[in-house]
C-alpha cells in the first residue's frame, strides 16, 4: 500500500515570495490533515479536511495561508506572502474516517521550507 506522498521535499524561498505544497493521501482515506512543525517543536494542526470540506482551520493563519482539497483526494497548501517565521516542516497526514480520537493518522515525509 502506497503511503502519503508529498512534494517538494525541500523548498528555499525569499520572504514575501509565494510557495505551494502538494499532498496525495492514502487511497480511500477520507480525512486529510496539514501540520506545521517548527524546529524544536511538535507538529501543530493547521487544517483538517473531511473529503473536500474543511472540518477545522482554526489555527490556519488565513491572511497568508490557504489550502484546498478539490475532489476530496489530493490537497495543496499555499503560503502567500511567506514570512521568516514560516520556516518549518509541513507535514501532511491522512486517516480513513476522520475519527480523530481513535483513527490512526498516517504521515507523509514532509516538506522542509526555508524562508530567507
Amino acid at each position: 500500500e502506497a503511503g502519503v506522498a508529498q512534494s517538494p521535499r525541500y523548498k528555499i524561498i525569499e520572504k514575501r515570495q509565494s510557495v505551494a505544497f502538494w499532498c496525495n493521501p492514502i487511497s480511500g482515506h477520507a480525512t486529510l490533515y496539514w501540520y506545521q512543525q517548527i524546529l524544536g517543536q511538535g507538529p501543530k494542526l493547521l487544517i483538517q479536511f473531511q473529503n473536500n470540506g474543511v472540518v477545522d482551520d482554526s489555527q490556519l493563519p488565513k491572511d497568508r495561508f490557504s489550502a484546498e482539497r478539490l475532489k476530496g483526494v489530493d490537497s495543496t497548501l499555499k503560503i502567500q506572502p511567506a514570512k521568516l517565521e514560516d520556516s518549518a516542516v509541513y507535514l501532511c497526514a491522512s486517516s480513513f474516517r476522520g475519527q480523530v480520537r481513535t483513527d490512526t493518522q498516517y504521515f507523509g515525509p514532509g516538506t522542509r521550507l526555508t524562508v530567507l
Partner: protein
C-alpha cells in the same frame, strides 16, 4: 487548555539498555493518548495508543506505555534499546470536545543510542 509536556529534550542510552521516555498531559476529560516516532527525513509513525481499558499498552517495535491517571502521565518504555531506535519521539493527546477534536503534540524527546 489541553497540553502535553515532554520534560526531556534529549536522552542518551546505551544499546541494550532499558528506556523510559516521560510524558505528562493536561486534559480534563478522558484522555486519548498516543506515542509517535519520527526518524530523520521521515514522517511520524504511530507506535501505540491508549483509549481505555488496560493501562499498559503494547505497541510496535517492542515498545509499551503505561497510563497513570493519578500522575497524568503516559510514559513510553522499551526493555532493550537497539541502535535503530535512535529517533525523535512525540507524545500526543487528543483534545477538544464534541464541537471538534484535534491532536496536540508535545515538543518531542530525541533519543540517542550509543554503542
Amino acid at each position: 487548555a489541553q497540553s502535553v509536556t515532554q520534560p526531556d529534550i534529549h536522552i542518551t542510552v546505551s544499546e541494550g539498555a532499558s528506556l523510559e521516555l516521560r510524558c505528562n498531559y493536561s486534559y480534563g476529560a478522558t484522555p486519548y493518548l498516543f506515542w509517535y516516532v519520527q526518524s530523520p527525513g521521515q514522517g511520524l509513525q504511530l507506535l501505540l495508543k491508549y483509549f481505555s481499558g488496560d493501562t499498559l499498552v503494547q505497541g510496535i517495535k517492542g515498545f509499551e506505555a503505561e497510563f497513570k491517571r493519578s500522575q497524568s502521565s503516559f510514559n513510553l518504555r522499551k526493555p532493550s534499546v537497539h541502535w535503530s531506535d535512535a529517533a525523535e519521539y512525540f507524545c500526543a493527546v487528543v483534545g477538544g470536545d464534541t464541537g471538534g477534536f484535534k491532536t496536540i503534540f508535545g515538543a518531542g524527546t530525541r533519543l540517542f543510542v550509543k554503542a
